[in-house]
Amino acid sequence: MGPYIIRRILYMIVVLLFVIAITFLIFFILPTADPAALRAGRSPTPETLKAIREQLGLNHSLPEQFWLYVKGLVLHFDFGNSFINDQDVRGLIFDRLPNTLFLITGAAILWFTFGVLIGTISAVKTGTFLDRATMTTALVAISAPVYWLGLVALYLFASDIGRFPILPGNGAYQDAHGFFAKIPTLILPWIVLASAFAAIYARLTRSNLIEVMSEDYVRTARAKGLTERRVVIRHGLRAAITPVVTILGLDLGILVGGAILTESVFGIPGVGRLAYDAIQRGDLATIQGTTLFLAFAVVFMNLLVDILYAFLDPRVRY
C-alpha cells in the first residue's frame, strides 16, 4: 500500500507541473490586456512600461518565468501576487476557499442523503408507479441548468425580491457574519446545487442496488430468514454504495472549481468565481494560482478515493 501511495503522489506532482506549464501557455494566447499597460496609466512612455514589466517579472522568457514560479511555490509556498492589486494570491484563494467548501459540503450532505434514500426506496419498489414517477422527476432535476434553477428560486423565494419571500437571497451570504448566521443564506444555494446531484445519485444508487439485490448472496441472506430491511441495508446497500461514495469524492474534487455557476447566481465569493474574474482581467498570477489549486483539488480527491477504494474492496490489489 505504501509504495502505491508514494507513486501516486509523485505522479500527482508531475501532473500538477504540467498543469502549470499549460496554464502559462494558454495565458500567452489570451487576448487580455498587457498587465503592464494596465498599471501604467494612460499614454505611458516605453520606459515606464519596461519598468513595470520588470516589476511583474514579465520580462523574463517563458521557461524562466515557469522556473521562477515553481521555485517560489516549492520553497516558500508563494503563489505570487495578483497583477490587478498586488494582493497575495495565496491569501486570495484561502480567503475564498471556506466559502466554496461551505457551499459544496452542505450541498453534498443534502444530495447524498436524499439521493441514496430516494434511490433505495425506488430500487426496493422497482416497477411501481412511485418508482417511475421518482425517476422521471429526477431526470427533470438533471435536465434543468443549475443557474436557471437558482434564478427561479431567487425570483420565487428570495426574501428581498421573491414572490414568496421566505429565504435570504443573493448577496445575503456576504452580509452575514459568523458560521451560524451564514447557514440560512445558504439554504437556497444548497437546494439548487444539490437537486441535480441528488437526482444523479438517486438513479445511480437505484441501478446499483437493483443489480446487487439480484446477486446470489442477497438471495442467500433472504433465504436465511433475515428481514427484508436488513437484507437491503446491511447487505445490498453496503455493496451498492461503494461506487457512489467514490463518485462523491470525485464530484467534490471537481466542484471546488465547478461551483462557479451557483456562486455567481447567489453572490457567494468562491474560488471558481475568482478564477473566472482573473481570466477576464488577464491576471496571470491569480489564474495560475487558482488553476493549480483547483487541479490539486481534483487530483487529490482522486487519490483519496482510490486509496479509500483499495481499503474497502479487498479484491483491489496494487
Binding site: 487576448p31 487580455t32 490586456a33 498587457d34 499597460a37 494596465l38 498599471r39 501604467a40 496609466g41 494612460r42 499614454s43 505611458p44 512612455t45 520606459e47 515606464t48 519598468a51 513595470i52 520588470e54 516589476q55 492589486n85 498586488d86 494582493q87 486570495l92 428581498d160 437571497g169 443573493n170 448577496g171 456576504q174 453572490g267 465569493p269 481570466i279 477576464q280 482581467r281 488577464g282
Partner: protein, 591 residues
Amino acid sequence: MTRSTLRPLLASVVAALALVVAACGGSDSGSSTGSSSSGGGASASQETGGKQGGVLKQLGSTDVDYLDPGHTYYTAGYQVLYPTQRTLYSFKPDNSTDPVPDLAASKPEISSDLKTITVKIRPGVKFSPPVNRAVTSKDVKYAFERFFSANVGGQYASYFSSIEGAPSAPTKGVKPISGITTPDDQTIVFKLKEPQAVGVAAALVMPISAPVPEEYASKFDAKNPSTYNTHVVATGPYMVKNDAQGNTVGYQAGKSIDLVRNPNWDKSTDYRPAYLDEIQMTTNESDASIAAQQVLTGSHLALDTNPPAAQLKDAVTTKKGQFVQLPGGGYRYFPLNTTIKPLDNINVRKAIIAAFDRDAALKARGGKFTGDIPTHFLPPGIPGFEEAGGMAGPGYDFLKNPRGDMTVAANYMKKAGYPSGKYTGNAKLLLIAANADPGKAQAQVAKAQLEKLGFKIQFRTVPQDAVYTEYCQVPKKQVAICGSAGWFKDFTDPQSMLEVTFKGKNIAPDGGNNNLAQLNDPKVDAAMDKASTLQGDARIKAWADIDKQITADAPAVPFDWDKTTIIWSKDVNGVGNPYYDALDYSFTSLK
C-alpha cells in the same frame, strides 16, 4: 457594475504647450462652471451646515486602485484620497474649475518668465499617527521625487516632465530632483526647463502633491513595489484606520476600507467641515441592484457609483432628495478609423453618423438619465462647451437627429459614390467590443446601426481591459470601429479634452494610441498649435472653434456626455464632488 474612469494624460508633446486654467492672480474666465449638477442634492446647499457626527456606509464593488497618493489614478482611489490627504490645491464640491489652496496657504506665485512656481505651505498641518509631526515643504518635495521611482510608479509623469531634473524614465529607488527646492519649511519652489508654469501649477491639484514623510516612508519605498500603499499616513480630516506601526488595518483589499477621524487634523486650517465621524466602505458587493436597493431604502448608506437602470429609475422618479447628478466630464464615442476604407471617405463617415440611432446606444447604458446625447465633443462642465454651441451644438445636419435620419444618411452615401444610398462594397469592418455590459450592449447597437447602411461587420468580444490596450489603441490591429471608447477629464481644460484624441501628430503607431480615429487633419493640428499658446477668453474661444472643426471632420459617432448619479439613503445629506465624480466624504453629513 464597475465604472473604471480612465483619466486622460497629457502626452509629453502636449506638456510642451502652455496650459491655462487659473492664470497667476487672475480668476478663471470659464463661463461654464462645473456646477451643472442637477437633482435633489442641489449644489448651492452643499456647504451650508450639517449634523455633526455619525457613521456613513458606502456600498461598492470597486476597490481603490491604490491608497498611495503617488500611485493612485482612478476615481475609486481619488474618493479616498481627497478626504484623507491634503494636496497643495484642491476643488470644493461646488466648483470644479477653480482650484482652492488646500495644503498651500495661497495661490501659486508664477514668475513672469513662466519658469518658476513658488508655493507657500500652510502652517499647522500635521501628519496622522504614527508620524504625528507638522508637515513641511520637504515632505512635498519627497512626494514628487518618489512619484518618479519605479517602486511607486506614478501614472501621469508627463504633466511634470518640464521640472528641471525630473527623470525621463522611472528611477530605481527615489532620486532627488534638482528643480524642486525648499528654501524653508513653509516654502517650496519648482524650477522648470520651459515656460510651462501655468500648466504645471494647474496640475498641482493632483494626488502627487500630497505630502509624504520621508523618514517614515523611505523604508517602504525601498521595496519594489513600494509598500507605502499599506502604510499611508494622512493629513486630511480622515485617515485609513491604522495601528501603532502604521499598518493600514482599515484597508482590506478587495473587501472594505474603514476611514476614521484623523486626530491630528486641525479644523481651523481647513475649509472642509468634515461632519462624519467614520466612513465604512465595502468594495466587494456582488450584486449592484441589491446594493442600490439597500441604499435607497436603508439608513445611512450610499452607493459608490451609478446605480443600475431599475434603481436609477426609482431614485429619479420617486426619491428626489436622495441623489445628485454630476457631469461626468467626458464623452463616449465610437471612433471611425479614418485609415480604413471606406471610412477614409468623409461622406461615408457623415452618413454613418447621420443614420446612427444614438439614443439606442445611450439606452444600452441606461438611457437619458445616465447622460446626454452630444452634438459636439467638449462636454458640459469644460470651458468651451457653451462657445461650441452648448447642448444644441454647431448644428451640423448629420448630428441633428439623435434617433438617426436615414434620408440625410442616404444623401451622404450618394455623395460618397454609392448611388443606392447604401454601402455596396466588400470591406468587412472589425468592431471590437467588451464582453460585458454595458460595453457589450452598446457595441451591439453600433453593429446594428452600421448594418442598416449595408456595412458588413466582423464583431469580436474581448475582456474589458483588453479592448483598449490590445486592440483599439493599437493601429496595427486595424480596428475599424472601437465599441467602447471614452475620454474623461483630469481637470477642466479644453486642450486636454481634445488634443490627445484628435491631433494628427499624437497618433502613436506602435501602441498606446489615444487618437483612436487616427484623425490627421493638418488644419486642425495647426489650429491646436496656435490655441495652446493663448490665455483666458481667447483660449477658450479658440478651443471651442477647434471642437467645431473636429466635429465637422466626422471622425467618430459621439453618443454620450456622461452623467454620474450618486444615490444615498433618505437620512443622508449627500454632497458630490464633480472633480472626481463621487461622494465627497468631507462635506457629506447625516440628517
